[in-house]
Symmetry: C2
Subunit: 183 residues, 2 copies
DNA sequence: CTGAACATGTAAAAGGTTACATGATTTT
DNA sequence: AAAATCATGTAACCTTTTACATGTTCAG
């Protein structure tokens, strides 16, 4: 069984609990967004595809066009997800325009380098606040299977620790660049 | 002037010093790879494109097919690069399959979560060694303008501090998951 | 009843990765 | 002379992004 990681991620969200496409998007925004964005244009085609493969099924009989459709995993879907979970992962990849700029910014002088670091710090700090405001796994109210999962909590903690490290680095770097007034 | 960040990154490497396509790829591998990969299939078409825009020029008269071509920035190219450097950057984006799996791995039990964390730790540790082995900015021998640039050094330090944070988090997470033998 | 949020979708274009294909140069 | 590395390029495919398009439900 072969899917794009975006497909797997959608499958994963349905494994946590049944929901409609819109709710998947929201859940992705709350948790995964920074390391696996799911874009609008891909969500609904992927749902159709997963349905065709028999990995998910609509709650009602037939999904009507334009109406809200709640999807849930089939047995095959859960099996496929578990199989994927045991598969080795592709390496982490980032696309970080700001860092690329930093690489080449010397030409413009120290102040330009500082500007880039400041931009970076501000962006990370804003993201950190946003992430800190979210409670991981609290996707439903009341007692729920989702609540005692370690996965969402660990991922949330990872995001925070990454952001803290990045912000810390920005500050160190700014101090370093400000300190040595050579060149 | 509008380019893809891949194009800008190529331009940036030529700003540091003139070189051929192959050398750009190598330089990218040494420095930027983890946060802005430049893939083979894009490099040469991009060089042609940058040439058409008048941002870079070949060393010899005309670039011959199959022969090594050393490219350097034109005045317009350097101007465009500088302009880009002052432009606000797109937000950092990562694609991290391992983290997505972690999010959904609870179903398979604590041992599967630990496996994922171990896989993650090993991958980051390997990358860390690889990155640590590289000396930033040392792209030429002898005294060189590249040597007193802060950019490459800062970026190198960022990579290391990111990797350290990630490895630290893996270890904390493993301890946490191992510790609480509930569920 | 009006606007905000909910909900689903499509089409086109841009971008990136992979695999392939070829030949030159240098080292052993 | 063979092998490794240097060097350039193409084509197909896959994925993602963006922009658009439409209709519903609920709160004020």
């Amino acid at each position: 069984m072969q899917l794009t990681p975006t497909g797997w991620s959608i499958l994963g969200f349905l494994a946590l609990q049944p929901r409609n496409g819109y709710a998947i998007r929201q859940a992705a925004r709350r948790s995964v967004e920074h390391f696996w964005g799911v874009s609008d244009g891909q969500l609904y085609p992927q749902l159709r595809h997963l349905h065709e493969l028999g990995l998910i099924a609509p709650a009602g009989a037939a999904p009507e066009r334009g109406a809200s459709t709640t999807w849930h995993l089939t047995t095959a879907g859960r099996g496929a997800l578990h199989e994927w979970l045991r598969t080795p992962s592709a390496a982490t990849r980032s696309r970080d325009e700001n860092l690329v700029k930093l690489m080449f910014a010397d030409d413009l002088g120290r102040s330009a380098v500082l500007d880039l670091l400041q931009e970076r710090r501000a962006a990370f700090a804003a993201t950190r606040e946003q992430v800190a405001a979210v409670k991981p796994g609290a996707q439903r109210h009341g007692e729920d299977e989702a609540l005692d999962r370690v996965g969402p909590r660990l991922v949330h903690e990872y995001s925070l620790s990454f952001l803290d490290a990045a912000i810390g680095w920005c500050e160190d770097a700014m101090a370093e660049v400000t300190g040595q007034e050579g060149s």
